[in-house]
């Protein structure tokens, strides 16, 4: 999918998870909300933080760091929920803090070496460098289950 020669413009929302820089294609981001208390779901996997009220609909929220297998940490007031839409599913992703919106071209992105993907194969779809910092570009379809995928 990532053709290194093409130079299509890409806008990424960058954010921090456990002192690492990650990013998502801005096109799938619907909004960014401050942290609110979630209503926990019984017996849910630990990355499932629960559900919140997003203007009248029930939005599931997952802790992205835990989802990616990063160590758990305390929530602070700087934590935000990035509301993303993948296919027809809306999901809230809890991240430590949002950093920036960066504009690149697809030529700036490079495929990750296999070992670099922390959350298992496919979660990191590309890497890029910004001011000598490595930014991981996440593949949303690998994070947010689609309606077809198994319900636990």
């Amino acid at each position: 999918m990532t053709d290194p020669k093409s130079s299509a413009p890409v806008e990424l929302l960058t954010f921090r998870l456990s002192d690492q820089e990650y990013s998502l294609d801005i096109m799938c981001v619907r909004e960014i909300r401050g942290w609110t208390r979630t209503t926990p779901l019984p017996h849910a996997p630990s990355y499932m933080k629960g559900v919140i009220n997003l203007r009248g609909t029930v939005l599931p929220v997952m802790d992205l760091a835990e989802r990616l297998g990063l160590p758990p940490r305390e929530h602070t007031d700087r934590n935000v929920i990035i509301v993303v839409k993948y296919e027809e599913t809306m999901t809230g992703l809890l991240v430590d803090a949002v950093s920036d919106i960066i504009a690149l071209t697809s030529a700036d992105l490079q495929p990750p070496p296999d070992a670099a993907s922390a959350g298992g194969p496919g979660v990191i779809k590309a890497l890029t460098l910004l001011d000598e910092r490595m930014i991981r570009v996440l593949e949303l379809s690998e994070i947010v289950p689609t309606p077809q995928s198994d319900a636990a």
């Binding site: 019984p42 559900v51 009220n53 319900a151």
Partner: protein
């Protein structure tokens, strides 16, 4: 939005009409079957099929037209008393109606028409008519060619043949005028074909004294020069054929035209407007008796529309949106109430009085909106009558379906989702509920078994019952099967109700040999799950030798729920109020430990297993002591009961149900969610699921969840 295609809209509307017509057909046939119909009944039945044929023809649905036409032919014979519809014929009519309904559905979805089945039914239908019918059939079929309707109104220009000339003699009879035909129009139509020389023969017109206003005195001779075939001229006279003396004769081409008309395309046309003056006057102007204007005027005031019930068709999406918005309104109202109440305003202040009024209005709006989605269960019941017919034929039992309360209204979504579980229950009733014919006769029962399907509103819920007059549940056998399958201990002592409820266990099937009807891997457990998913309960009652009744109790709508709001481990949760039997507090007198890890609470002499909801949900670990804990005694659909420990009961109120996206993660014990007055989400519990998770199966083995210290 793209511009709506009018043909597509009419097509959609045609299929909606078909549903109504099929319903009327079904009703009519049922009336014929139990002899409760009258003379009009067969007409209604005939018209239903006839109208489906008519519409289908307009859309070029040939398969549908062909079947409807031959079905209609047989019904017409019944209507005209040349065929007597006996019981077998009516059964066949039912099958034909079922097939017609399949054809309608397949035609609508552009599916494949089940031809073989249709042909078999048609053969039987034709057989009813004997030789006569078949002969008539062939003729009629040629005559009725379905025509795909195109709305391209431009008439194709035919290639012009060489101009021909015709002499037309036309002498109207009085009947021509009586049927509303008009020579002027005919002459004008001729003039449109080409150039006309019209001569009006007035020699028959009498003196005024002898003039009869209704008689026909005028004749016309027309010489037409036009690029047309004779058939085209004949077609102009189609409606008056037989109502006039008419000759059309081509003039041989070697006879010269009287003048060169082609230079002057329509020389006769200016004369045409004079013609009406010459026609006899059947017109109102020559009316002998005076009209009575006041009467029609008064009649016109009673508007024509008043007779027809006014109906608006609305896209379901719009209703969904309205339902959602009303849900928001309810939540917002609750939030407003909460903040006003905590603001310390006097209950007698204007704001609080206004709030009360607002609450009442909100409730009314909510009820009204829910009513929009309500539909009578009739269509559902009619589908079931088909299931009974097909199913009884398959197991060779004579079964009659009796329905009651089919005008009972239920939320559309509920109706749709009831179809599968009801189908299964009806099949069960026919297949397992009713005994084989020889057993019925031996028991002194009529050969024909009865399956009864009823619907009624009872205290804010809908009760749907499926009952049979069969042999009742064979409890010995049920218990044996449950024991064999390891579902219960061999020495378990169970009440009749408990045995009956074993039917709802996953994988249970009473049929010792799996028949092709019920043995489809769907058990009553699936039925129960489906009913529970609708917020309903299902119960069984059975009397040996007299039959079995399954009773389903459903909420009127899926959108709201009467709930009990409780606190559990710091979380606010909602329990469906209909499942809560009573609340109690634990003390030394009612708490017992039957064995280590299994605590029970004694309620009026009965022992009920006790669970800590917070522990069951994984929200906390077991408490040290449950003395003085608040307990909700709940009963699930199967009648099995449980006692749930909660921290606090907060409120009883109606909550708006919000679905949980379960593609992500399906939380056990949770049915849905709602939004509370403070904007927080509260989960709605599914107590049966909790009990099932905790118990494993029916046996009351609770996990080791508490230690009692006291």
């Amino acid at each position: 939005m793209s511009a709506p295609d009018p043909m597509a809209e009419i097509r959609a509307s045609f299929f909606i009409e078909c549903e109504e017509l099929l319903e009327a057909l079904q009703d009519g046939l049922e009336a014929m079957a139990d002899d409760s119909g009258d003379l009009e009944t067969i007409n209604v039945v005939f018209r239903a099929v006839h109208s489906i044929k008519g519409g289908a023809g307009a859309f070029g649905l040939e398969g549908l037209v062909r079947f409807a036409h031959r079905y209609e032919t047989v019904l017409d014979a019944v209507r005209s008393n040349t065929l007597v519809a006996d019981g077998d014929a009516i059964k066949l009519f039912f099958r034909a109606a079922d097939h017609l309904s399949d054809l309608v559905r397949e035609s609508r979805d552009d599916g494949i028409l089940p031809e073989a089945e249709g042909n078999a039914i048609l053969t039987e239908l034709d057989a009813l008519l004997g030789d006569h019918g078949v002969a008539e059939e062939d003729e009629a079929e040629i005559e009725f060619q379905p025509l795909g309707l195109s709305l391209d109104l431009g008439l194709a220009d035919l290639p012009a043949p060489a101009p021909a000339r015709f002499t037309i003699h036309f002498a109207p009879e009085p009947e021509l005028y009586e049927t509303g035909n008009e020579p002027y129009m005919i002459l004008r139509a001729l003039a449109e074909l080409g150039s006309c020389e019209v001569t009006c023969l007035t020699d028959k017109v009498p003196q005024l004294t002898e003039f009869a206003p209704e008689a026909s005195y005028l004749k016309w001779t027309v010489v037409l020069t036009a690029d047309v075939q004779e058939a085209e001229i004949v077609s102009i006279f189609e409606f008056v054929d037989g109502l006039c003396a008419l000759t059309i004769a081509p003039i041989p081409s070697d006879v010269p035209a009287p003048q060169d008309v082609s230079n002057d395309p329509l020389p006769e046309l200016p004369e045409m407007p004079d013609l009406p003056d010459l026609t006899p006057p059947p017109a109102p102007a020559a009316e002998p008796e005076p009209a009575q204007p006041p009467a029609p005027a008064a009649k016109a005031k009673a508007t024509p529309q008043s007779a027809a019930k006014s109906v608006v068709r609305v896209d379901l999406d719009r209703i969904e949106r309205l339902v959602n918005l009303v849900g928001e309104l309810v939540i917002n109202q609750a939030m407003l109430s909460q903040s006003l109440e905590s603001s310390g305003l006097s209950p007698h202040s204007d704001a609080m009085n206004g709030l009360e009024e607002f609450q009442r209005l909100t409730r009314d709006i909510q009820d009204s909106v829910m009513m929009i989605r309500a539909q009578p269960v009739k269509s559902l019941f009619q589908r079931m009558s088909r299931i009974v017919r097909e199913c009884s034929a398959a197991v060779r039992k004579d079964v009659r379906l009796v329905t009651e309360g089919d005008t009972t209204e239920v939320d559309k979504t509920v109706i749709e989702r009831l179809s599968d579980p009801l189908t299964h229950m009806i099949r069960n009733a026919v297949d397992h509920g009713l005994e084989p014919t020889q057993n019925r006769l031996a028991a002194g029962k009529p050969e024909q078994g009865v399956v009864k399907l009823t619907a009624a509103h009872r205290s804010g819920r809908v009760i749907i019952e499926v009952s049979d007059d069969g042999g009742g549940i064979n409890r010995e056998k049920v218990k044996q099967i449950a024991t064999d399958k390891g579902l219960i201990a061999a020495d378990a002592s169970l009440t009749d109700t408990e045995i009956d409820n074993l039917l709802f266990l996953p994988g249970f099937s009473t049929a010792s040999e799996v028949s092709d009807l019920s043995g489809r891997g769907v058990g009553m457990d699936v039925v129960r799950n489906a009913i529970q998913a609708l917020g309903g309960r299902i119960t069984i009652t059975s009397t040996p030798g007299e039959g079995t009744t399954f009773s389903i109790s459903l909420p009127l709508t899926l959108a709201v729920l009467d709930g009990m709001v409780v606190q559990v481990a710091g979380e606010t949760m909602v329990l469906p109020l209909n499942l809560v039997i009573e609340t109690l507090t634990i003390d030394h007198s009612n708490l017992e430990q039957t064995r280590p890890g299994l605590n029970v609470v004694r309620v009026r002499g009965e022992f009920v297993s006790l669970f800590d909801l917070g522990v069951e949900l994984g929200y906390r670990s077991a408490q040290d002591s449950y003395l003085d804990a608040v307990v909700l005694l709940i009963a699930d659909e199967g009648g099995s009961r449980a006692a749930l420990i909660v921290d606090e009961i907060q409120d009883q109120r109606q909550v708006v149900i919000k679905g949980l996206d379960e593609s992500f993660y399906r939380a056990p014990g949770i049915a849905a969610a709602t939004i509370l007055g403070d904007g927080q989400i509260a989960l709605i519990l599914d107590p049966s699921d909790i009990i099932a998770q905790a118990q494993g199966s029916t046996l009351a083995i609770a996990p080791n969840l508490m230690e009692l210290t006291s």
